[in-house]
């Protein structure tokens, strides 16, 4: 971890958390336009933002960027918090922070940029799938998810295809540093002829080649004419006439 980030964590750890009364008092001041109160509210809750950002740390985005995005989400929550509803600030803020971080992760991870509605559909799809699994103990089919989301299975399939994480063909095939084989070395080529088939073909060609030398010139020429293989016909012709 970078030293600056550790310093930041240390500084944040020293900030005191707010009591419920302090939250309400600060919220009232923020409503009245007190920027100092706003700043204090943000600073006091930055730990929450960091904690949520850390949950997304393994999604292919830098932790520093995630903390920055979660802080932006926190600022939005501070600006929109309504103390009259009676909820704790953290209950409200975590939704804004999560949304901000998720949007950033979805926008940054993967080489295919998806529009926000598509990303939203993917998140919904994932959560529906998890809920379904919890309730019924099996994974839902694409048709079932599509019905629940009010979309078509084809749309879901194409979204999943677009959201799949691309891998480098020259990149390492294994996460550990033990193996040094690249992805293109371990990928299976379905169109490639198997070794057995290749050996069979070699044997066959060898056998056919052996027989060809036993064919009479008459048979050979007829075969060539029938199959449209005209190579060396002129030469053959000369040999026949000679």
């Amino acid at each position: 971890m970078a030293k600056n980030l550790q310093d930041f964590f240390d500084a944040v750890g020293k900030t005191n958390l707010l009591t419920r009364e302090e939250e309400i008092e600060l919220s009232k001041k923020i409503e009245a336009g007190d920027l100092r109160a706003r700043d204090r509210m943000i600073r006091a809750n930055i730990r929450l933002a960091i904690s949520i950002a850390k949950n997304y740390a393994n999604k292919g985005v830098d932790l520093e960027d995630l903390i920055q995005e979660s802080s932006l989400g926190l600022i939005k929550a501070v600006d929109r918090f309504d103390w009259r509803k009676g909820f704790k600030f953290s209950t409200y803020a975590c939704w804004w922070i999560r949304q901000s971080v998720r949007q950033h992760v979805a926008a940054q991870s993967g080489s295919i940029k998806l529009p926000s509605y598509a990303r939203g559909t993917l998140w919904k799809m994932k959560s529906i799938s998890e809920e379904y699994h919890k309730e019924f103990g099996v994974e839902p089919s694409h048709q079932e998810i599509a019905d629940l989301l009010g979309t078509s299975p084809e749309t879901l399939r194409s979204l999943m295809k677009c959201a799949a994480t691309p891998v480098q063909i020259d990149g390492g095939a294994y996460k550990s540093s033990d193996g040094n084989r690249s992805m293109h070395e371990v990928l299976v080529d379905d169109r490639a002829i198997s070794v057995e088939e290749s050996i069979d073909k070699e044997k066959l060609i060898k056998a056919v080649r052996g027989v060809l030398s036993e064919l009479s010139p008459r048979e050979e020429t007829v075969l060539r004419l029938r199959f449209g293989i005209t190579e060396d016909l002129e030469e053959e012709n000369l040999n026949v006439n000679a």
């Binding site: 066959l204 056998a207 056919v208 064919l215 048979e219 075969l223 004419l225 449209g228 293989i229």
Partner: protein, 96 residues
């Protein structure tokens, strides 16, 4: 009107349409006659099948199949076999 019942080939019949530049038996007979091998279309067909039977023999041996005349003739007439042999012949020289 019903059609007479007869033999129905399992894999169809080999035609020259499958081979680019391939000739029918009458054309082959004419060309062979011009080259000094006098023959008619039926002989051209017999010679062609005879050559394919010779090629089919080691293939049958390789796959431990019956190598009787009838069995070899069936293989020689099979359009799948003919197309496979055409592919191999195109990739190798006859008397290489």
């Amino acid at each position: 009107m019903s059609m007479p019942k007869g033999f129905k080939s399992a894999h169809g019949y080999a035609t020259t349409k499958e081979y680019d530049g391939g000739a029918d038996y009458r054309t082959i007979a004419n060309q062979m006659t011009n080259r000094g091998y006098k023959m008619n279309h039926a002989t051209a067909r017999n010679v062609f099948l005879s050559a394919l039977r010779k090629i089919a023999k080691p293939v049958h041996d390789m796959h431990k199949k019956n190598d009787s005349y009838d069995s070899l003739q069936r293989t020689a007439k099979d359009p799948r076999f003919q197309s496979g042999i055409a592919e191999i012949l195109a990739s190798i020289k006859f008397r290489g």
